[in-house]
Symmetry: C2
DNA sequence: TTGAAATGGTTTCCTAGTCAACAACATTTG
DNA sequence: CAAATGTTGTTGACTAGGAAACCATTTCAA
């Protein structure tokens, strides 16, 4: 690709292009339920381990503690999450889903399923498997662990 | 993936995870040259067609005209871009690269090349080609045209 | 056992976008 | 040709996040 490569000469370009489209459409879908993508990830994380300190959420979501603090505020205001004091350490507290928050998760999960089908359903089974395999290998190779949010 | 799918059950999840890692690393590389990713895309677009109205840039970059207006301000302030009035239509103007801006493009392009090698070099040739092919097919199928920036 | 360092969270300031209102100019239409 | 409508670009209000300063508390070490 001499001498000055084009934008679209790079795999990263196409990756980002497709990824953005998929994510933006998903964002649109969850927005209909008054939730952002970051909020979805947050809620989904809490769904499994019903109680988590914000620091762990920050770790698993790959966001700063400051961002989690504000995100938690917003979810609190929406009544989807609640804070409870931690008896042992008076600096710390825990976050958990409210009933309403818990009820929303399956709905949002099905939107995620739908979105994936919508975008990747056009691939043949072989293609889809190859894509998954390659992406997971890349993620593994790079030691990625945090759930992507942005 | 019944009853409530996990985050990582979706191809979109892995796509975003890898895409974010690649882009963030590229952002770090260009930041060493005092440029953001959006600025790089902007400069690279101008490099080919040396003169463009902001409206066309907005179109090709998939950003609002407001965003382009501010982006142009920043590049102007950095001395990488210049505005010139359009004789025919007094509302409009054109953007073009300064000498300095033009000089930066090849440097930034080589960073993009480097970044791609760094992330996708671990793939076999077959894998890399399959990935490119699938991504381009998806982009095509979805009618995507704007250069991804965010 | 008390002063220093570490830790959990929050807050402030900054950045880079969107969206919607706007000003200036151009174009169309009656 | 005047008025309505459309178009170009800018601006202001707002959003979500990062970085770093900060506060309160806990832990560690002399």
């Amino acid at each position: 690709m001499p001498p000055v490569s084009s934008l679209n000469d790079h795999t990263g370009y196409w990756l980002r292009m497709v990824s953005n489209a998929v994510s933006q459409e998903f964002a649109r879908k969850v927005a209909n339920h008054d939730v952002t993508v970051a909020e979805w990830v947050f809620l989904r994380a809490l769904y499994d381990r019903n109680v988590m300190p914000p620091s762990v959420l920050a770790e698993t979501m790959g966001m700063t503690r400051g961002a989690i603090s504000k995100l938690a505020d917003r979810l609190l205001a929406k009544g989807l999450v609640e804070r409870t004091a931690n008896g042992e350490d008076r600096r710390a507290h825990s976050l958990s889903l409210t009933e309403e928050g818990r009820g929303k998760v399956p709905v949002l999960a099905s939107l995620a399923d739908q979105n994936d089908v919508e975008y990747f359903g056009v691939l043949t089974t072989e293609e889809h498997e190859a894509l998954n395999r390659i992406l997971k290998a890349l993620a593994e190779r790079q030691g990625l662990k945090a759930a992507p949010v942005d």
